[in-house]
Structures are given as structure tokens and as C-alpha cells.
Symmetry: C2
């Protein structure tokens, strides 16, 4: 396989973009990435676009072609396809783009992610998101994602003594980090008490344990390493791109305090990149709910199994501690425009590794992005490093 580098990144602000359409957001992020890479739009040979719900929510499928058209790239005769793995659609698109460049099929590839979630009611969007769970065996019986997360949290508390306070420390850190991030949706700082006393969504998870509905887009430009150096002095190497899949329904799993897909995708990523958890300086974790992040800290090897709560409480996720956790603010506070999320995590890590963050700049040479679909049913992991 050829070595693959990221030579450009771009993203919109995440938030409620009442005046911008799906197309506007995607093109804004894409153009920023093209500009950042110092390439011309004409150089793009293929687009892999992560998006979950455009068909359901804005009535538009065939999104990759639509966006290539709207962005004025049809003259390129490029390849364009959409990739969907629920909330891991962005990570899936990046995994596809990685293979496209690694294989030698394409040289300059744009991997994008976009979601427009505020054009419909919260109820409609909650139902659209529920289509990432098992419609026949979970959703039909009333489950929504907060309730599935709540069951995982309750079990983790029961099995390992994880406390309500420990869980709350995760969104507190995310909001703190996001307060510096000009791309973030929720930049207010919050306290553990505020998390615990916020309106209950699904016991024990309150509103402040849950990521918001967001509009947004993100894009990265990939190139084989030998070409990358022609465009930039700071190519960021993708040293691992891995995937794994777990039972979609919680009731099928032996243990709902872990995701085997987390564990396996991470193991593969460490092997591929020749790294260990202690080598990861910067970690963007898919914290759709605080419990999903806590479990990931364990599954990815940053805390021993069952000790995620203690790890958080002892300061393990503070900037420049054991690992700089979600310097962007994570899904919780930067926002979670579903299809964009996995790509946006990588944009953040590239900014960090290039030491050009406009928000909280943390130390480090190696970053990891962890993007999941469903209750960590689908997992994509990327390890990035400075070369």
C-alpha cells in the first residue's frame, strides 16, 4: 500500500446554520480544504462524502454527485460517491479515501462529511437518528439513542462503581475545551453540578451528557506521501486507518459496558501504526453521550477496564495530561453534525499536529480519531502523525 498523507483541511463552524443549506456547508468546507492544500479544484480526482440523513431529512440522495456539481467540479470527470455508516459516516468516508489513494487508483482525493440537521423538527431528526439502531428490534420497542446510552451507563455504574460525578466530568472538560474553539457550537463552560441537575433525558443521562443537533461540514485532501511533499512542508501521515463492527442491538452483546468494535479497531490501529496507547498525545473521541466516551477510554486502552471513571476523575483527560482529550470540545461541545463528525475530528488533529490551532493548542506529535456509528456498533479509527 502507498503511504497516504493529508495535505489540506477545512471545516465550517458547527451550529444551527439557519441561512445555509447542506450544499452551502459542504462547499464551504471543501473550498477551505482545497485552499489550505494549495491545490486547484481541478486537481481533485475523486470525492468520498460521508452523510447519514440527507435522503430522509432534505430529500436529497445522490449527494456526492450533487455536491461535486454544486462545487463546480464536474469538469474534472471525477469519481464521486457517498459513504454511510450512521454517525461513523465521516470515518467510513476517510477509510474509503485512504484505500483509494493507498491502492493507486486515485492520487488527489477529497474526503468530506456534511450533515444538515436543523431543517426539520427535533422529533423528526431524533427518528432519523434512530434509524442507526436496529429499527425492528430496538426502535420499534421505543428505544432512542439517549435511552440506549442510558442503559450502558447504568450498567457501567452497577458493574464498576462508576459515579454520576465521574461521567459528568467528561462534558465539563469538553465545554471547557470548546470555549476556546471558534468552530464550536457550545462554547459556554459548565460544572459537574450543572450536568447532574440539567433536565433528565434518559436516567442517568441529562441534557448535558448528550451531544447537540448540529449543522456542519468538514473536508480533508488526501495524497500519496511522495506527491504530498510537493504541496506542503507539513504533510500529516495517516499511519493507521481501521474498522470493526459490533452487534447493532445492545441485547445481542455479552457485555454492554464495552464495544468489541472499539477494542478490535483500536488493536488493529496500534498494530498498523506501530504505536501503543501511551504514544497517543491527542485523542478525539466520539462522545455522542458521556458514557460512550468513558467506555472508549477503556476500550482504546487509555484506562483499564472499569477504571474509566477513576481515570477521568484523576485528571487523565485534562489537556497535556495522560492524553489530550477532545481538544476541539468533542461531539458534546464542538457539535455533532453526524456525517461531518468523523472528518471534523481529523481536521482538529491536523490543526493540532501542525501547531496552528485557533483554539486550545495542545502538545504532541501523534493523534487518534475515534468515530462510531450507533452504540459503537461501527467503529473507524485513524492514527495521524507528523512526519
Amino acid at each position: 500500500m502507498r503511504e497516504v498523507a493529508i495535505i489540506g483541511v477545512g471545516q465550517t463552524k458547527y451550529g444551527e446554520h439557519w441561512t445555509k443549506s447542506l450544499r452551502d456547508l459542504a462547499v464551504e468546507a471543501g473550498l477551505k480544504a482545497v485552499e489550505d492544500a494549495g491545490i486547484s479544484g481541478k486537481d481533485i480526482q475523486a470525492i468520498f462524502g460521508g452523510n447519514m440523513s440527507a435522503g430522509t431529512v432534505v430529500g436529497q440522495d445522490h449527494v456526492a454527485a450533487i455536491l461535486a456539481d454544486f462545487a463546480g467540479l464536474i469538469g474534472n470527470d471525477l469519481a464521486a460517491m457517498r459513504v454511510e455508516s450512521a454517525c461513523a459516516s465521516g470515518g467510513a468516508a476517510l477509510h474509503t479515501g485512504y484505500m483509494a489513494v493507498a491502492s493507486g487508483m486515485y492520487d488527489i482525493v477529497l474526503v468530506g462529511g456534511v450533515e444538515k440537521m436543523t431543517d426539520v423538527s427535533s422529533e423528526s431528526m431524533t427518528d432519523a437518528l434512530a434509524s442507526a439502531a436496529d429499527r425492528e428490534w430496538e426502535v420499534f420497542f421505543g428505544a432512542t439513542f439517549p435511552s440506549l446510552g442510558a442503559m450502558m451507563a447504568r450498567r457501567h455504574m452497577h458493574q464498576y462503581g462508576t459515579t454520576r460525578e465521574q461521567l459528568a466530568m467528561i462534558p465539563v472538560q469538553c465545554h471547557e475545551n470548546a470555549s476556546y474553539n471558534p468552530y464550536a457550537q457550545l462554547r459556554n463552560r459548565i460544572t459537574v453540578e450543572q450536568v447532574i441537575n440539567a433536565p433528565m433525558v434518559a436516567d442517568p443521562l441529562t441534557l448535558l451528557d448528550c451531544s447537540p443537533m448540529s449543522d456542519g461540514a468538514a473536508a480533508v485532501i488526501l495524497a500519496p506521501m511522495e506527491i504530498a511533499k510537493k504541496y506542503t512542508d507539513t504533510p500529516i501521515k495517516i499511519s493507521a486507518s481501521t474498522a470493526a463492527t459490533e452487534y447493532v442491538s445492545l441485547h445481542s452483546r455479552e457485555d454492554i459496558t464495552t464495544s468489541r468494535a472499539n477494542v478490535v479497531a483500536a488493536r488493529r490501529a496500534y498494530k498498523m501504526a506501530k504505536k501503543e496507547p501511551k504514544d497517543i498525545d491527542i485523542l478525539e473521541v466520539h462522545d455522542a453521550f458521556s458514557i460512550i466516551a468513558l467506555i472508549a477510554l477503556e476500550d482504546l486502552g487509555f484506562a483499564p477496564k472499569g477504571q474509566g471513571g477513576r481515570f477521568v476523575e484523576e485528571g487523565g483527560i485534562a489537556p497535556n495530561s495522560d492524553v489530550s482529550f477532545n481538544p476541539s470540545g468533542g461531539l458534546k461541545a464542538k457539535g455533532h453534525p453526524v456525517g461531518a463528525t468523523g472528518v471534523g475530528q481529523v481536521v482538529e488533529i491536523v490543526h493540532q499536529l501542525r501547531k496552528e490551532s485557533k483554539g486550545l493548542q495542545v502538545d504532541g506529535e501523534v493523534g487518534m480519531a475515534h468515530n462510531v456509528g450507533g452504540t459503537a456498533s461501527t467503529v473507524f479509527i485513524h492514527i495521524l502523525e507528523v512526519v
Copy 2:
């Protein structure tokens, strides 16, 4: 890039499967492919699934993980993602699977396609399909796919003198071929007069110029050539896998009697496979409407520009003539379960090349599959050959 071979294929019958769900259909096709390849389900390292409308129509996104789960493959810790390019979703999934194997990322890969179109009303499904056109600039003003096809047909007739009769000969040949195919949805033979006098859908296209709504699934197993020979004495080589994208909206194109994506994807495919049109023995063309097939015959180099009608009239698409056209019966008569179509075309060609068709067996060593999304806005082309 590693050479990629198809070592197993499977498909359901296409039709109105009132008693089978999306999951049932997908798993039936997948298991047949696994059995045909002589592998175990445990050997599958990744699934790339083509599907257009499950989110909209059956309320289920995250389909690749759902199907991996339903098929009992979670123990493999495999990668799973859905790929969507409207009616070219199957071709897009195969292009992705090709890159996945060619790159060295995965060895044994299942590429599947599935669509369940009869669980909702025809009106709902027509609207879901319209999401492959430009929702804001075509659909909003009343366009549906038959009407877009009708404009292309009318212009082709005006510009080149193509006759109503010539267009009608395409579905006549498709129904004739499908009459032999046990997997086909519409096995009745029809005449040119019946096509012309069928109920008008969008002038000049009648009901018998249009492919039906179908349920169905198809799957192929890919492996690197060096491994393929361990499993089968008749690996079918994928000697080209290419893509191109054209303006989605007809009004943006210079000429609506052609698709630049057809032309470019074909040119790339011939170059990659070191072939010319005259080398193609068997051709599965995306004949969603008769005009789309006629234009493809020209764009892919089988007939000179504007002479597609004459080519058809002079017998160019009869079995074992210039090219054996849609021996399966094509989208028109085999059926068009959107996400499955591009994969099902390849299943047909593999059956033909292995000389094991249960329908109309034609001669030849080289086949081409042409799968499009929208009005040939997205095009994927695969060339397959006996090794």
C-alpha cells in the same frame, strides 16, 4: 495495485417479494455468494453494501452493520459500510470493494447490493427515487425520472432522427432475453407495437420503456488473484473498475443526448483493461429507460454518435451479434432493485463467462457492466474477463 478476482456470486430472484424483508433478501444473496465461492462466512473481512433508499423507505440506515449482524458475521470483527450513488450504488460498492482488495487492506471482501421497493406506495417510491435528481432544481419543478428520460429521448429523436420503433426494440430484446432468466421479474415477451401502444408515462416513453419497481439483492465475493486460485478454477478477473460524474441536472449539460460520464468512464475502462468496444462480448447496460440504454450504446462506443437507433434496428443487440446486450433481461425485464442492480449485472456476467447461465447463455470471454445513477450523472463501469 493487486489484481482482483471474483470468486463467488449470488442473487435473489428480482420481483415483488411481499414475504421477504430487506434483510431476508440481502442475506439470501450473500449466503449464495459465500456458498458459490466455497468460503466460510468467517473468511469475510469487509462488506461494502450498495443501497439507495432503506433510510427513507424502511426507516433503516446503518444498513451494512445491520446486515452483517443479521447474517451472523459480527464474530468476524469485519469492516462494514454502505455506499450510495443513487441507482449506481451497486457499482459504487463494487468500485470500493475493488480498491479495498487492490490496496491490500482486505483480502476476502463481500460486495452486496439490495433494495426493497414494494413496502411503500409507488408514489412514495417515485419520490424517493426522485431524490437522485436535483431536488432543488429539477424535482421541485415537477420532474420525475421518466420525464427527464422523455426529454432526452425527444431530443435524440429530433437531433438524430431516432424513431419510436427503434427505441421500442430495446425493451423487446430485454423481455425476450428475460423470458429465459429464472431470476427475472418480467418474463413475458412483448412486441414493438405493444411498447408503442402501452400506457403513456412521459411522452414519448410508455410504460414498457420503463424499468419496474423491484425488490432484490445480489452479492459477489472478491479476492486478490493469487488467493482466488486457491478457491476456484474459474476466477473472473476484474480488469477495469472506473467511475465518472456528469452534471446531475439536465439543464446544465451542453448536450442531453449524451452523458460525458458514460464517455469518460468507458474510455478509462478500455484503457485500464487494454480493450476496445469490439473486444466486449457481453454487455449489461443500465436501461432504466430505453433511451438511457440507447445513449449508452453510443457513449460506450458500440454505435457511432446518433446511430444507436440504427444499430439496434440492424440487429446489433441480438444475442451473439456485435455484442450480446443484456442477456439477463436488463433493468427493464430482469428488474431494477436500485441498490442491487450494479452488483446483479456483474453476477449475470460472471454466470455467462463461466458458461453456467441458467437463462440465455451467450458466447464470449469478456463482459462489461455499465451502472448509472440519475440520468447517467454518476457512472461506474466494470470489465470482467476469463483468465
